[in-house]
Each structure stands twice: as structure tokens, then as C-alpha cells.
């Protein structure tokens, strides 16, 4: 300690670097003067990688050779180039001062000691021999035994040069009259290197402070923890791209933290969608393609352009994708029931479009029979896309960009008609087939390891005690998880016939709730529209509150659940069926209390989470690659 303290004392009065005389003295660097601001919480910010940290041959204090990269990977590394004769207070001694403080911290902080390595490499190999480095190291032994601080040099300036280049260290020797090097002119840089050998931060004098460095190291450690957790979650749900970019997971809690993605990075790569239809992923039957609407690449591309074109609505604010948001399971995770143009209320939850190619019952009440016809429902609904007529839609598309020409190219003389518009959009939607989930790889691919034990137990419950597969059918060669029927679970009944609570719990901010009077909510809300389900199509009282049995593929991506989005999580759905639904005269006979234990319910959820398709990210990335059509965007955006 004595020698180090002496070193510092000697240096402190002349702390300002050798500056031009006309310049005012520079302020003390933060390492000496203290940080002028409070550091953010470790892990609360990002340190984007700045590229790979360079490698090269170095010599240890005992003279042994090693590659610099051998010191990276197992620990985080703070690396600085120094030379032992340096006397610029804002250069090497500053680094020594800061590293010394960090080493002191390591004596008390075990995690830091175990995960961080301090490394100095000399850029004066001629004078800084391994033995000289060992002597220099002794200056700092008083910092304590715990943790690691390495003092390295190189065999020669030639060995050093590639390292200097790799780290952008511009060194100029100051020579005496007889040509001997006395000192080096350099700018102090400290590099933070992660376990993947990537540079994550570079510090100069202006923000070199032990607390800040340790904060950054802890931030990288937190990131690693997060990734480890994320990877575990990924195994259950193999889609990295799915989920709202504005992730509000955990918002109920007071310790909620945002995990918002940047819109500008929402980019993707176009996929070969037609081949998905021709060769559907594992676990799916052949995709039914109507003979009158054969699938072609150009037609799918045209339909895709239309699907993401907001000009398809009366006031240019709504494309199909505004409710069927690709990264939100081609539905909306952010709304229980949809909202249409001018904010008009839609009474049901937007259904996912995954595997809609297989459905002959479209809409929750099954009132449409194929996708070609179905698309006209939202286009003309006053509370969805709000177009006044078929003619108005066609006329608008005809005069928008190059759509008219593209329709002629795809459909020949027929060009753009009520039918061909449906055919184009339906062709794109038909490509959104998704299988090859962990379940498929286990059940149809024979991969025993594809499914976790919990999910396997869940499968046995799904097909056994819980009776789910009675409606959500699993076949011998493939599974669509639906029997294409309409059934009454009581969710609709409860909404129509149940009472309204006098007070409603409303969330105001993370962890902040208020109980709001029914009267207040009613004063600012329209009365909810009636919804009688299938009855509205058949007028048969026995069909009251019947809704379509949906496929369960990708169900982990499509919250909230049920036709009105009233159940927020899969856990809530399983609990709902476990309780036997909502009793009512038309309750489906297959629904009854299941008497599942808490562990069994958990297993069922694990099984449901294993149904996420292996090609989801391919489809979402393809959707990200599709430009959004807006007024002024010129041509129909997709011209591939």
C-alpha cells in the first residue's frame, strides 16, 4: 500500500495532463473527483456489443506464453494497455488507481471476485519484461488476495503490434535526442469484455470510475441471467419474435420493469410461403386449397401486400394486420375485444389466423365457410374497416398504386373483382400454417426428448382425465386440435345473463389499482352490445352462446382467451374448465368439473405451451418484411 499511496501522492498535485499553456486546467477526472451523477441500477440498461475483442500472444509474469483469448470467456474482463514508466496522472496511474479500487471491492464482493478479471498489458515490451511486470504487480498486492489482476507483456514490439491494432491503441513514442524512448503518448482506454469475448464498453478518462465499471459488469451479469431465463422459457415456446413489442408482462407488480422493443428493429426476411402450403410442417394434414383458387407465388405476394395495407379501410387507418398483429400470434394480445375504425367497439376477440386454412367455420360463430368469402366481413363491417360497399373497396384499390396491374397479372382478364380480392387475401392467409411444435416432434416425429416430462404428463391428462381432446382432437397422423364444432362453455351465457359488479378493479400504473364504481364506468362507456353466439346465425334457441371450438396450436401466443378475451392466461383457462365452465341450460355435456390437482393443472398448461409451431418465427419475420401500406406510400408496397 505504501508504495502505491506514494505513487498517487506524487501524482496528485500535477493531476491535469500536460496541457497547452493557454488552456484552462482541465477538471479532475471522475475517478478522482467522484461521480457527478447517480448510477442507474445494474441491469436497467443495455450495453450493446461493440465487436469482438482482439487476440494475440502475450507473456505472463513467469514468462510463459499464452493467448489473450485464454483469459476471456470464463470471466468478464477489464483490459487496459499500460506501461510501468508512465507518469501521466490521467493515464496508467489513473487506471491503476481505478483497478486497485475494484480489487478492493472484490475483497468484499464474492460474485465480483469470481466473475471479473482485471488485465493490464504493457505496450512497452522492451522495458516491461515479465520480471518488470511482476515487480510492478507487487505495488498492488495490498489490495487484497481475492479476485484476479493480471500483468502481462509481450515478447517484442512485433508481437505487440497486432494487439495494438485490434484495440485501436494509437501509441506514439517520445524519443530523447539520442533516440531512446522515454515515454509514450497514448489515450487511456479501458475495455470491458464479456464472456463471449465481445467488447461491451470502452472507457476514457472522462468516465472512468470504479463504481461505474462495476455497475457495467453487474449489468452484463444481469443480462446473462436474463438470457438464461429467456432460453429456458424459449424451450417451452420456441418463438423469439412473438409477443408484444411493448411487453407488459408483470405490470400488475410494483417492481415491473419495461422491456420495450424498438420499432425500428422490427425487421424480417421474406419466406417461401407457397412451399409451406405445399409441404405443411410436421403434425399438419395437407392444406386444403380450393380448386378455383390455386396457390401461386404472385397471388400470395399480392394478398400479402393487401393484408398489410391500411388503405383498405374507409379512412386509411386499418389493415387486416392492425387486429391480426403478426408478432402477437396474428391476433392482439393487448385487447380483450377488438377496436375498429374510429375506435368503434367490436364485441369479440380477434381470432388468430394461424392454421385458418384448415377451418370451414370462420368467425367465432362459424358464420362463414371459407377465407375467400370471410374477408368481406371485416372490410364492410361499420365497426371494423368501415367500407361503405363492395364497389367502393374495389374502386379504391383499383386507383391505389399498381394494384390494378398486379391483379391483371395474377388473374388475367378478370383483374380485380369481388372474387379475386378475396382469392388474393385468402391465399396469403392460407400460408400461415404452423406446426412442427415440440409436441409434433414428440408425437409424430418420434423424438422422445422433444417434450418435457411435465408436458408429457399434461398430454396424458389432455387425452385422459381432463377430456380436452374430446373437442380439441388429436389424430393418428396429424392434429388440428379441433373437431370443427360449436359449443357452449357458459362464457357467453355469463356475459349476457350475469350481473355487473358494483365496483371494478382498474389498474392505473404498475402495482397501482383503484376500485371504480360501476356508475362511473357506465358514465363514460356505451352499453356492451349483445352477443348470443351461434344463435345469431341459426335462430335456434338451442344454439344460444355456442362458439367455435378453436384449434389450440400456438395457443401460448394468442392470449387473452375465449371469444370475448375474458380469460387472461392459459392457467385461467385450465382453471375455468377445471371448475366445469359456467352452468347454464345449454352447457355442453362434455363440460363438467374435472377435479384436477394444482400440479395436474400446471402439467396441462405445460402441454399447451408445447404446441407452439417451430416455424412461427419464419412467418413472423416474413410479416415484418412486408411493408405497411399507408397514404403516400406510392405503389402497392410489395412488388417482389
Amino acid at each position: 500500500m505504501r508504495r502505491f499511496a506514494l505513487l498517487l501522492l506524487l501524482l496528485l498535485p500535477g493531476m491535469a495532463p500536460a496541457a497547452e499553456e493557454s488552456e484552462p486546467p482541465a477538471p479532475l477526472p471522475p475517478a478522482y473527483a467522484g461521480l457527478a451523477y447517480r448510477l442507474p441500477e445494474p441491469g436497467s440498461y443495455e450495453l450493446p456489443p461493440l465487436g469482438e475483442a482482439g487476440d494475440g500472444e502475450v507473456l505472463d509474469m513467469d514468462g510463459s506464453r499464452l493467448r489473450l483469448h485464454e483469459l476471456f470467456g470464463d470471466k468478464y474482463v477489464l483490459l487496459t494497455f499500460i506501461y510501468t514508466h508512465c507518469n501521466d496522472a490521467n493515464g496508467c496511474p489513473l487506471n491503476a488507481f481505478v483497478f486497485h479500487r475494484i480489487k478492493r471491492k472484490m475483497q468484499k464482493d464474492r460474485t465480483l471476485a469470481e466473475n471479473l478479471r482485471l488485465v493490464n498489458v504493457s505496450f512497452d515490451p522492451e522495458r516491461d519484461t515479465p520480471a518488470a511486470m511482476a515487480r510492478y504487480a507487487e505495488n498492488f498486492s495490498n489490495a487484497g488476495p481475492k479476485g484476479e489482476w493480471r500483468f502481462l507483456t509481450t515478447a517484442s514490439p512485433q508481437r505487440l503490434q497486432p494487439l495494438l491494432e485490434a484495440y485501436g491503441q494509437d501509441i506514439q513514442r517520445k524519443l530523447t535526442a539520442d533516440g531512446k524512448a522515454t515515454a509514450f503518448s497514448h489515450i487511456l482506454r479501458v475495455f470491458l469484455i464479456d464472456r463471449k469475448k465481445r467488447i461491451r464498453n470502452i472507457y476514457s478518462v472522462a468516465f472512468l470510475h470504479p463504481d461505474l465499471l462495476v455497475n457495467d459488469v453487474k449489468t452484463l451479469m444481469a443480462e446473462e441471467k436474463r438470457h438464461a431465463k429467456g432460453e429456458a422459457a424459449e424451450r417451452e415456446s420456441p418463438s423469439a419474435l412473438s409477443g408484444p413489442g411493448d411487453d407488459r408482462h408483470g405490470y400488475e407488480r410494483v417492481d415491473y420493469r419495461t422491456h420495450a422493443r424498438a420499432l425500428a428493429s422490427r425487421k424480417g426476411k421474406a419466406a417461401d410461403l407457397v412451399s409451406l402450403v405445399r409441404h405443411p410442417p410436421l403434425g399438419l394434414p395437407p392444406v386444403p386449397v380450393p380448386p378455383l383458387n390455386p396457390i401461386t407465388e404472385e397471388k400470395v405476394a399480392l394478398g400479402r401486400a393487401l393484408f398489410y395495407d391500411r388503405r383498405l379501410s374507409l379512412n386509411n387507418t386499418f389493415s387486416c394486420a392492425m387486429c391480426h398483429i403478426p408478432e402477437q400470434g396474428f391476433t392482439s394480445n393487448e385487447l380483450a375485444t377488438a377496436v375498429g375504425i374510429e375506435g368503434r367497439s367490436v364485441r369479440r376477440n380477434a381470432p388468430t389466423l394461424y392454421n385458418s386454412a384448415y377451418s370451414s367455420l370462420l368467425f367465432h360463430d362459424g358464420r362463414e365457410e371459407n377465407l375467400e368469402q370471410q374477408i368481406w366481413g371485416p372490410l364492410l363491417a361499420k365497426n371494423e374497416m368501415g367500407n361503405p360497399s363492395v364497389g367502393a373497396v374495389l374502386s379504391k384499390i383499383r386507383s391505389t398504386g399498381d394494384y390494378a396491374a398486379r391483379f391483371r397479372k395474377v388473374f388475367g382478364e378478370r383483374g380485380l373483382t369481388m372474387d379475386t380480392l378475396g382469392m388474393a387475401i385468402a391465399s396469403y392467409e392460407r400460408t400461415l400454417v404452423s406446426g412442427d411444435s415440440p409436441f409434433d416432434r414428440w408425437r409424430f416425429g418420434g423424438d422422445e426428448k422433444a417434450l418435457s416430462e411435465a408436458a408429457k404428463r399434461g398430454y396424458r391428462l389432455f387425452t385422459g382425465k381432463a377430456g380436452c381432446s374430446g373437442c380439441h382432437v388429436i389424430g393418428e397422423r396429424w392434429a388440428l386440435f379441433t373437431d370443427h364444432s360449436l359449443r357452449n362453455t357458459g362464457v357467453g351465457y355469463r356475459e349476457s345473463m350475469g350481473g355487473t359488479p358494483e365496483r371494478q378493479r382498474v389498474q392505473l400504473a404498475p402495482g397501482v389499482f383503484a376500485e371504480v364504481d360501476r356508475k362511473i364506468i357506465e358514465s363514460v362507456g356505451e352499453a356492451p352490445p349483445p352477443d348470443l353466439g351461434r344463435y345469431e346465425v341459426t335462430q335456434d334457441p338451442a344454439d344460444r352462446w355456442k362458439y367455435r371450438v378453436p384449434s389450440l396450436r400456438n395457443v401460448a401466443l394468442t392470449a387473452p382467451y375465449m371469444h370475448n378475451g375474458s380469460l387472461p392466461t392459459l392457467e385461467a383457462v385450465v382453471a375455468f374448465y377445471n371448475a366445469g365452465g359456467v352452468p347454464n341450460p345449454e352447457l355442453d355435456p362434455l363440460i363438467h368439473p374435472l377435479e384436477l390437482s394444482a400440479a395436474e393443472q400446471k402439467d396441462l398448461v405445460a402441454f399447451l405451451k408445447s404446441l407452439t409451431g417451430g416455424n412461427v418465427d419464419l412467418l413472423v419475420a416474413d410479416a415484418f418484411a412486408a411493408p405497411v401500406g399507408d397514404v403516400g406510400a406510392g405503389n402497392s408496397p410489395d412488388t417482389r
Binding site: 411493448d246 428493429s265 367497439s345 362507456g525
Partner: protein, 457 residues
């Protein structure tokens, strides 16, 4: 007539504008702006205003059902005092919301939160009869996907526009968008998110990327933005939203401090519960702004501490937060001594003593109507105007859905009603943002001269 204008002639305005364009961060304009909530880079009306321009939402089935700019004569010396003197329909219902003048105060930019159109009105050629001279209908495409132009805020020679949403998920992640005064797109500045903080420091738990209002303190080279919610929520039926737990999670919880000069976000502050309007202090030694959180009903002070760090602090409750009174518009006095705060749900306006900004105290309140949203006060604080509409689908339903413009005088002790206009009875719609006009602003302008040319529509 008591018209008073602080005396910047056209040529000086022009010179000043050019000067400020070059040195935007160095000198705030000599003209402190409108009436306490406008850009500091703008001429102000210090005396009696002649007109209030009310950006009004069309209501389906009421009159022509379109959004319109409604001009009301508010000069007591005028024979048409208290009357609607002009209305200008713009086509469609665009969710008319906020409006703001260009720095030369010749044009009023009025945004539509739904269709993302921006309507540019000439208010200087004939202040009693604004003309629609240009409509920007490519805002979304030009900005790279920003939806919902909200605040249109004058910077020297250009307009800074806050966006509320985006064309990908209709959520709250958005950006600031810059246009020249003559309506040309300049740049998009995305709000900082966790994934890309854009160099900002996340000082707390949130970096949501949301946006709402913008104000500047040029002498501190600081720009401040707040955060609300995305299209799906602000367009949705209010009652439906309150019952949708997922939707209620999608509100902003941040205020961002920017480097005004470089347009870089510097620091993201946690201000939970949807901080909306921002008003910055006018006095030269007051390095602070205030905002109010709509959902958590608090006044927050955004201030520069003694170390030069910007901080956020909740300094007062507004009414009883557990009753969710929903504070909406605020208006600060030109000497920073008091702050008007409107609460939508109870229709009240509340006056807070702001002489110690760390401890505001409510000193007066009055019910304006069954619902109230906007408040605009004159520079001398003697007149204050109120309108009723918040958002088309958030306004109250049934008989509570009063739609009015109300003019009051503040005598230092109480508000004295002067006149009111029933926007239902007049078949106008839902009145929202108010901006003041005065002949005196253009008294030295020759009719043919124009500092800023705006292309014909």
C-alpha cells in the same frame, strides 16, 4: 380596444426566426408565447385576444358530422363578442385534438389523432376567417410509421410534432416528428426504449417508448416529452377500456429529457400513470416544468437539481386519486405563481398555488360542467376559457355529455362566467384545443407579404 402587442414587426420576426434557426439553443425568442402554454419561440398576445380558434371534433349525426375549426369572437369590444364568427369543415372525423402555431404565428397546425392528417390553416391573412391552405396526409408514410400527430410545437422555422402511436401494432411506442414550417418532412426521432435507449440513461424502471406532449426550456437546452397511450386505447370506448385489464396496462409511465439542440434523448424519468400536458416555467431562474398524471392524479415536478441533473418528483395530489378524477389540461400563469388543473370526471377546474413548486397547494376550485377538458388562459391571467371534450370515445355518454365552450374572468378570487356556447345546440361537435388570435399580431404585416410560404392544398 385594449390591443397590446409587444412590438415585434414582421421584418424583425423574420430576422429573429432566421437567427433562432441557427442558434436555437442559445437565445430564446424575445417573445414569450401565447398565453402561457405556447412555444417560447413565438410572439405573444399580451393584451386582449380577439379570437379563440377551437379545433372541434365532428360528431356523426350532428350537423355536417365533420371536424372543423371554429372561430369565436372573444373581444368584449366587438359587436360579435361571444359568437361563433366562422367555421371551417375539413372533411371526415380525424379525432381532432391539439393544434399549434408556427413560430411566426401565421399558420395554425391542427392534428388528427385517428387519420394522422395535419391541417394547416392560414390565420394571419384574415384572423377572423382562417383558411385551410394545406393538408399533410402522408404523415404516417413520411415519418416511417408514426401514427397520431398530437402536439404541434413551434421551433424556429419548423414544427416538432409528437406522435402517440404507430402503424405496426397501434400501441403506444412512437416518435417525435419534425416538419419545416412549409410542411416538408424533416426527421423522425424515436422515443427511447429498452432495446434502443438511443444514448439516453434509463434512470428508473421504465423506458416504454411512449410519447404525448413536448415543451422546451431553450436556456437549459432541454426538451421534455411525456407519455400517454396508443391508438387502440385513445380511440376506444372509455368504459370498454376500463373493463379490459390488458388495455389498462398500456399507458405511458415516463418523461424523457432531451438535448434540445441535438434532439438526443438524455434521460428517461419514471413518472407512472400517464403524464400528459407539460408546462415549463417562464421565469428565467425557474429550471422546471410541471406535468400531471391522468391515471394516478398527481402533479409532478420535472426539475434540474443543484448538480444539473434532471429529476422527477410527485409534489401534490389532485383531488382524491382513489376516485380517479382524471386530471387533463393544465395552464400555468405567466409568472409561474399558479397552475390551473382541470379534472375531467368531476368537471372541475382547480387552482394550485405554485409559489413553492415542490409544495403546490390547491387554493380554489369550481365546477365548469359535467365534464371539462381544456383550459386556456390569457397572458395576464385575467381571462380563462374552457372546453369540454377529451376524446370522441372517452367523453361521457348520455346527458353528461355536455359539449361547450365557456369563457370566464378570473378576478383573483373567483371565476366569473362571461358567456358560453353550446356546441351541441350549434351543431358543431366536440370542442377541444383552443388557440388565441389577435389582429395586433399582424398589424404591421402587408397583406401580400409572407414570411413563410405554404403550398396550396
Amino acid at each position: 380596444m385594449n390591443r397590446k402587442f409587444h412590438g415585434l414587426g414582421l421584418s424583425r420576426l423574420r430576422t429573429l426566426s432566421a437567427f433562432l434557426t441557427a442558434f436555437s439553443t442559445v437565445f430564446p425568442a424575445a417573445g414569450w408565447a401565447d398565453e402561457t402554454c405556447q412555444s417560447p419561440y413565438m410572439a405573444k398576445i399580451t393584451g386582449q385576444e380577439d379570437f379563440v380558434y377551437v379545433w372541434t371534433l365532428g360528431v356523426e349525426g350532428l350537423g355536417d358530422g365533420q371536424d372543423k375549426l371554429v372561430t369565436i369572437d372573444v373581444n368584449p369590444a366587438s359587436p360579435r363578442y361571444g359568437k361563433v364568427v366562422h367555421t371551417l369543415s375539413v372533411g371526415g372525423r380525424n379525432e381532432a385534438h391539439h393544434s399549434g402555431f408556427t413560430d411566426d404565428r401565421k399558420y395554425l397546425w391542427a392534428g388528427g389523432l385517428d387519420t394522422s392528417k395535419i391541417f394547416i390553416f392560414d390565420v394571419h391573412s384574415d384572423p377572423a376567417h382562417p383558411k385551410l391552405v394545406k393538408t399533410i396526409d402522408r404523415f404516417v408514410a413520411e415519418s416511417g410509421g408514426v401514427v397520431g400527430p398530437h402536439t404541434t410545437y413551434a421551433l424556429p422555422g419548423r414544427m416538432m410534432i409528437t406522435g402517440l402511436s404507430n402503424n405496426k401494432d397501434h400501441g403506444g411506442r412512437s416518435a417525435l416528428v419534425e416538419y419545416t414550417n412549409d410542411g416538408k418532412y424533416v426527421a423522425t426521432h424515436w422515443m427511447p426504449t429498452d432495446e434502443n435507449l438511443r444514448g439516453a440513461q434509463k434512470s428508473g424502471k421504465y423506458a416504454d417508448g411512449y410519447d404525448y406532449d413536448v415543451r422546451v426550456l431553450p436556456r437549459r437546452n432541454v426538451m421534455i416529452t411525456s407519455s400517454f397511450t396508443g391508438w387502440s386505447n385513445y380511440m376506444m370506448d372509455f368504459g370498454k377500456m376500463l373493463k379490459d385489464p390488458e388495455a389498462m396496462k398500456r399507458f405511458g409511465n415516463t418523461v424523457v429529457v432531451w438535448n434540445l439542440h441535438t434532439r438526443q434523448p438524455k434521460k428517461v424519468l419514471d413518472v407512472p400513470g400517464a403524464p400528459l400536458e407539460i408546462r415549463c416555467a417562464w421565469q428565467p431562474n425557474h429550471n422546471w416544468c410541471v406535468t400531471t398524471t391522468a391515471l394516478t392524479s398527481k402533479i409532478w415536478l420535472i426539475y434540474e437539481d443543484e448538480r444539473g441533473e434532471w429529476q422527477a418528483k410527485a409534489v401534490a395530489d389532485i383531488g382524491d386519486p382513489s376516485k380517479v378524477p382524471l386530471p387533463v389540461d393544465i395552464s400555468i400563469a405567466s409568472d409561474d405563481s399558479v397552475l390551473w388543473v382541470n379534472t375531467f370526471m368531476d368537471g372541475k377546474t382547480r387552482l394550485f398555488d405554485l409559489s413553492d413548486p415542490f409544495h403546490p397547494k390547491q387554493i380554489y376550485e369550481r365546477t365548469i360542467g359535467r365534464q371539462v377538458n381544456m383550459a386556456s388562459e390569457s397572458w395576464d391571467g385575467k381571462r380563462i376559457y374552457y372546453t369540454s371534450s377529451l376524446l370522441a370515445n372517452w367523453d361521457k355518454k348520455g346527458k353528461d355529455n355536455e359539449q361547450f365552450f365557456k369563457a370566464f374572468e378570473w378576478n383573483g378570487k373567483e371565476l366569473v362566467p362571461k358567456f358560453a356556447i353550446d356546441f351541441h345546440a350549434e351543431k358543431l361537435g366536440r370542442p377541444h384545443q383552443m388557440r388565441f388570435g389577435a389582429y395586433s399580431l399582424y398589424a404591421e404585416t402587408e397583406p401580400t407579404a409572407g414570411g413563410t410560404q405554404v403550398a396550396a392544398r
